[in-house]
């Protein structure tokens, strides 16, 4: 009676991604907070820091246009945190052992987990863009640029979700994942997210922001809003996100092998 055909990998990914999406939908805190917090911060910053646009060399006259890239980054960080914590809870609570006792493949676990993050990335990016447009932001690159912006935002969200997955698999603890969250935010604050690099006066800060890959992710999104089509900025942003995905997927696969030691 137990001679059953194993489920194939796409089916496994579908099942696990469906579970991840259910998790997000059934935990309002995982939806409301990651969407509301960046938008509130956007409102506060764009009204409070508008005077910065009068500085010579500031790339736009409306700080809202400049700041719109930030919610996409913050949303990506929240998605990484929540996805990572869900996975860590599976490890801590033994649910991973339950899954390990089925024919589920390791890559299907990672892909299914990331399916939830992808869902959250798409939903939040759509909301940030819609809110941005409603409150007066224009997309310099036009409708096509808006679509590319969405694609870039989802790619960035996916990249950070890969990072969250790796941290969860390596640490195996929700608290450890939570502990990494401030580090992610430090990376954001030490980037060009809140101020253009050419206007940062402190040498050390400008150096850090220049070497901080988050700067280029932010500037890729920002270029579509402020500049129009900037091939270099887009290539750098997509390239860094792709590198992050490749690196953290590989690291996640390695971490899963040590975490999932079934024979």
């Amino acid at each position: 009676m137990s001679a059953l055909a194993s489920s194939n990998m796409p089916a496994q990914v579908g099942l696990l991604a469906g579970r991840a999406v259910r998790h997000i939908i059934r935990q309002p805190a995982q939806v409301v907070f990651p969407i509301a917090f960046p938008l509130i911060l956007l409102a506060v910053n764009s009204s409070g820091l508008d005077a910065a646009t009068k500085l010579p060399g500031f790339p736009t006259t409306d700080y809202l246009d400049f700041a719109l890239a930030v919610p996409f980054m913050q949303g990506a960080l929240f998605a990484a945190l929540n996805g990572g914590q869900d996975l860590a809870r599976d490890i801590e609570g033994g649910f991973l052992d339950r899954l390990a006792l089925t024919p589920m493949s390791g890559p299907a676990l990672i892909a299914g987990q990331l399916g939830g993050a992808l869902f959250m990335g798409v939903v939040s990016a759509l909301i940030y863009l819609t809110v941005g447009l409603l409150i007066g932001t224009g997309i310099a690159a036009g409708f096509g640029g808006a679509l590319v912006l969405l694609a870039l935002a989802v790619t960035i969200s996916f990249a950070f979700a890969c990072l969250g997955t790796f941290v969860a698999l390596r640490a195996g603890s929700g608290q450890a994942v939570q502990g990494f969250f401030p580090l992610f935010f430090v990376l954001l604050f030490l980037s060009s997210a809140f101020f253009p690099r050419n206007l940062i006066e402190q040498d050390w800060f400008r150096q850090v922001a220049t070497y901080n890959p988050v700067s280029y992710l932010v500037e890729g999104i920002r270029s579509l809003v402020i500049t129009g089509w900037d091939g270099q900025a887009l290539a750098q942003a997509f390239g860094i996100a792709a590198l992050m995905i490749a690196a953290f997927l590989a690291l996640s696969a390695w971490a899963l092998r040590t975490r999932l030691v079934r024979t």
Partner: protein, 333 residues
């Protein structure tokens, strides 16, 4: 797939960092359709053994085959043949009972057309049909255990591993689970490998018992044989008048050696023969003119076996619920 429902273990060792041997060279053999009770205190090596046999941990040394497959080299085939309910019931608090069944059925590769039927049948069997659409976070401990068992049975395994399945359950839930386990072995020929720290559970449910302590199996056999091997029944008498203790002792002396009193004012004798001496004991007390307030026959327990084999009482025995559920109906072993 061979119709092999047995478990064969030889010289199994599982070592952790710091040269800690959680399992230290155990041998055991479980026949198809048998309920094997693996009894031991906390930290004895029960759960580690289960994790190795269910492929969740590789063995450090020795061999083990489950359903005819090597646990170290044929993990996927072993997993396809077994159902497992681990010590900590791992459910997803965000999913309902029915969603758990769907997810498990899908991952097990059960054809889509059969998933709902099988899942619903099992939910009905374990008494969760009415709660199937509630999130598992709202379930009681007993309901969680029952869902765990249903999930373990979903793909029709020929061998079932239950790691301390009744720990923390109330008597009613414990009885229901015992009944279901007994039914699986009796009606479906499922081999059951059951770890427990509850003496009654092993005694009542298992065809054979292996007692593990500090990673080593210290005794193995049927519960009756193990008890007979290490001890004989004890009769305990409390005379109505405390001054009759000496007379009571004298009346009981021909039947066996006196042992430490179990209660204040009692006289206890380990019987030289068996419980069939009871009628003669009553007559002897009558002849000695001892008015009896209390007379009890104590059969040896698996704790006596554990005590005899290790010199210690089984830890956790004191954690057992006060009430003992009735013995489930079993086929002759």
């Amino acid at each position: 797939m061979p119709d092999d429902r047995s478990i064969q273990v030889a010289g199994l060792v599982r070592e952790f960092k710091g040269a800690i041997k959680a399992v230290d060279g155990i041998d055991l053999s479980v026949a198809g359709g048998e309920i094997y009770g693996f009894l031991g205190p906390n930290g004895a090596g029960k759960s580690t053994t289960v994790k190795v046999l269910t492929t969740l941990l590789p063995p450090s040394a020795g061999t083990a085959t489950v359903a005819g497959y090597d646990v170290a080299k044929q993990g996927a085939k072993v997993r396809a043949s077994i159902g497992v309910a681990l010590q900590d019931v791992a459910l997803d608090p965000m999913l309902t009972g029915r969603e758990h069944m769907r997810l498990q059925a899908g991952l097990q590769g059960i054809p889509r057309a059969e998933r709902a039927t099988r899942g619903n049948d099992l939910l009905e069997r374990v008494g969760l049909a009415d709660a199937a659409d509630r999130k598992s976070s709202t379930y009681s401990g007993g309901m969680r255990r029952r869902l765990d068992l249903a999930l373990a049975l979903l793909h029709g395994p020929s061998i079932l591993f239950l790691d301390e399945p009744t720990t923390g359950l109330d008597v009613q839930s414990r009885t229901a689970l015992w009944d279901e386990v007994a039914r699986l072995a009796r009606d479906e020929g499922t081999t059951v490998f059951l770890t427990t720290q509850y003496l009654e559970e092993a005694d009542v449910l298992a065809d054979r018992v292996g007692i593990i302590d500090r990673g080593v199996i210290v005794a193995e056999g049927t519960p009756a044989a193990l008890k007979a091997e290490v001890s004989r029944p004890t009769v305990e008498v409390i005379p109505r008048d405390a001054e009759d203790c000496a007379a009571t002792g004298a009346a009981l002396a021909p039947f066996g050696e006196q042992v430490a009193e179990r209660a204040a004012g009692s006289v206890a004798v380990r019987l030289r023969s068996g419980a069939d001496q009871l009628a003669e004991i009553v007559r002897a007390l009558d002849v000695a003119d001892v008015a009896v307030a209390h007379l009890a026959l104590h059969e040896p327990t698996l704790d006596d076996v554990f005590l005899a084999k290790t010199g210690r009482s089984l830890e956790g025995a004191g954690d057992e619920p006060a009430e003992t559920p009735p013995e489930p109906e079993r086929a002759a072993a």
